[in-house]
């Protein structure tokens, strides 16, 4: 059934160096890389960024096709912004026909923009492809925990994210089951006008909501029975630890950031 084709949580299992990094290193690293991309203003600068990203992709052992898939939903936006910049930037004309004039500045700017967007998407894709959703939320939890001092419920929020991610497959199975059961009663989810199809979702959605509430109530009961209380003083089953690998990653990141800043200063 079509419902099985939807992939959520795009983690790509592998035993690579990148996968083994501490999630906190990966989150901060991705953020720093993204900021650096906005500091870079030249093709030489992007060559350095792209080289680092390429090295990370090769180390992560994730097939390039998987990473490129992240481009699919935004390819349209990239093309539109590229065309706008290409046509609207004033400067030295290099080609013109009819009412369209393409300038050197426009060409340069649209290419830089496209590279910037692609690098942004690739770097964020690698983060989610090479980090299990659970360790991602663990990492966020730990990174956000200083904010608890000002009353921000960091642990509670990441716990909610963890639970939501954990129950996606459960609810998918549930949907599949209910869909089959209603199909057996003659329900038709595939044909008819939009209104009819929206209406045919009712026999699917109501039992699904009921199930979701039942599962949520069971989970709350189970957590309470185990005396769960989050936040203050809670220890972890698998405490996160920085390894030598993380130290190396931090050094590379620092060197990269320094290079980007120096290049910007020198106007490269």
């Amino acid at each position: 059934m079509a419902i099985k084709d939807i992939t959520l949580g795009q983690y790509y299992p592998s035993e690579s160096v990148i996968h083994r990094l501490d999630p906190r290193t990966k989150i901060i690293g991705t953020l720093v890389f993204m900021v650096s991309i906005f500091l870079v203003k030249s093709f030489t600068g992007f060559a350095v960024s792209a080289a680092l990203l390429a090295a990370v992709i090769i180390l992560s052992k994730i097939p390039f096709g998987y990473i490129a898939r992240g481009l699919k939903p935004v390819i349209f936006i990239i093309i539109i912004t590229m065309t706008m910049n290409l046509l609207m930037t004033p400067g030295e004309p290099i080609a013109s026909f009819w009412i369209i004039t393409i300038t050197r500045e426009g060409l340069e700017r649209s290419l830089l923009l496209a590279i910037r967007l692609v690098l942004l998407i690739f770097s964020s894709s690698i983060l989610t492809l090479a980090t299990k959703p659970m360790s991602l939320t663990d990492g966020l939890d730990s990174l956000l925990s200083p904010l608890r001092k000002i009353g921000f419920p960091a642990h509670e929020i990441t716990m909610m994210m963890t639970i939501a991610i954990r129950f996606i497959p459960t609810l998918m199975d549930e949907t599949d089951k209910i869909m089959k059961a209603q199909t057996a009663r003659g329900a038709d989810f595939e044909t008819g006008s939009i209104m009819q199809r929206a209406k045919s979702m009712i026999p699917l959605l109501i039992p699904l909501f009921v199930s979701a509430f039942r599962i949520a109530a069971d989970l709350a009961m189970a957590m309470e029975a185990r005396c769960y209380r989050g936040g203050e003083g809670r220890t972890r089953m698998n405490p996160m630890r920085f390894s030598n690998l993380d130290t190396i990653a931090w050094i590379i990141l620092a060197l990269y950031l320094a290079a980007v800043i120096v290049m910007r200063r020198m106007g490269l």
Partner: protein, 284 residues
């Protein structure tokens, strides 16, 4: 209606490294008026098999014929035949969704395009058949009923479609003894009233021994045994190898016989066992 399953194969994840045969060369026939029980260890392919019987899953090889017509054809005739094969899923109470019990039971017949009056008549008949009073529960919300009642309403929802073959996937799972008893007697009632073919998946050998006319045993995707309960349950060793057991009454009498008691271990139900014990010991 007569259902014939011919050399059915079903493969999960075909073409991938972890492809598994869920069904291997399964062939069987189901006839009108039969109450057939399907047993097998968890993961033996029982649920996969019954989902083929009304076209929810398509076979990778082989055919499912209803009165000689392949039910997976695209013709309106095949579609009509598929509707005559009612499938009640495991925990069917989770499919209830309407505001009232009555409306929920009407959902199936309505999808078949019947008129309001016909739907109402079928809903009332089916509710009565599962032992519920339509006047009493008809206007209640299905979510306000007890677990066993919800399940009977869900079964009524399938019955209202007038199936000629009724398939129930573990209808008694997770119910208390009273709810279980009510479901089983309701199944027997359906068989007597409508004289349709009923296929029942069960893990409870006691129930199987009591109600089945015929028992099918599945193991690792193949149909390995097919025959009357007495015959199938006599194959103790074969059943044990598949992780199944004979009914408790039979096992008890076997233990008595093994301990030197002069009883016959050739019984299936508690009633039979009691009779046998009285026959041997009662006279003294």
């Amino acid at each position: 209606m007569r259902i014939e399953v011919k050399d059915l194969d079903h493969i999960y994840n075909a073409g991938l490294a972890y492809e598994t045969y869920a069904l291997k060369h399964v062939s069987l026939t189901l006839d009108r008026g039969e109450l057939v029980c399907l047993i097998g260890h968890t993961g033996s392919g029982k649920t996969t098999l019954v989902q083929h019987l009304n076209g929810l899953l398509k076979p990778d090889k082989g055919q499912v014929l209803a009165d000689g017509v392949d039910i997976n054809e695209k013709s309106p005739q095949a579609r009509a035949l598929r509707r005559k094969i009612g499938l009640v899923f495991q925990y069917p109470e989770y499919q209830l969704f309407e505001e009232t019990v009555f409306k929920d039971v009407c959902f199936g017949p309505k999808n078949m395009g019947l008129s309001e009056e016909e739907c109402a008549k079928k809903a009332n008949d089916s509710l009565k058949l599962v032992g519920m009073d339509p006047d009493e529960v008809g206007d209640k919300s299905p979510f306000a009923l007890s677990g066993g009642q919800k399940r009977r309403v869900a079964i009524a929802g399938i019955l209202a479609m007038d199936p000629e073959v009724l398939i129930l996937d573990e209808p008694a799972a997770g119910l208390d003894p009273a709810g279980k008893k009510a479901i089983l007697s309701c199944i027997k009632g359906i068989k007597e009233e409508r004289n349709i073919c009923i296929l029942l998946i069960s893990h409870n050998m006691e129930d199987v021994a009591e109600i089945a006319d015929r028992v099918l045993v599945m193991d690792k995707g193949s149909l390995v045994l097919d025959g009357p309960p007495g015959e199938v349950f006599a194959r103790r060793q074969a059943l044990r190898d598949m992780g199944l057991a004979a009914p408790p009454a039979a096992r008890f009498m076997e233990m008595v016989a093994a301990g030197g008691g002069p009883v016959s271990a050739d019984v299936l139900t508690l009633d039979d066992a009691a009779r046998e014990i009285i026959r041997v010991y009662g006279k003294r």
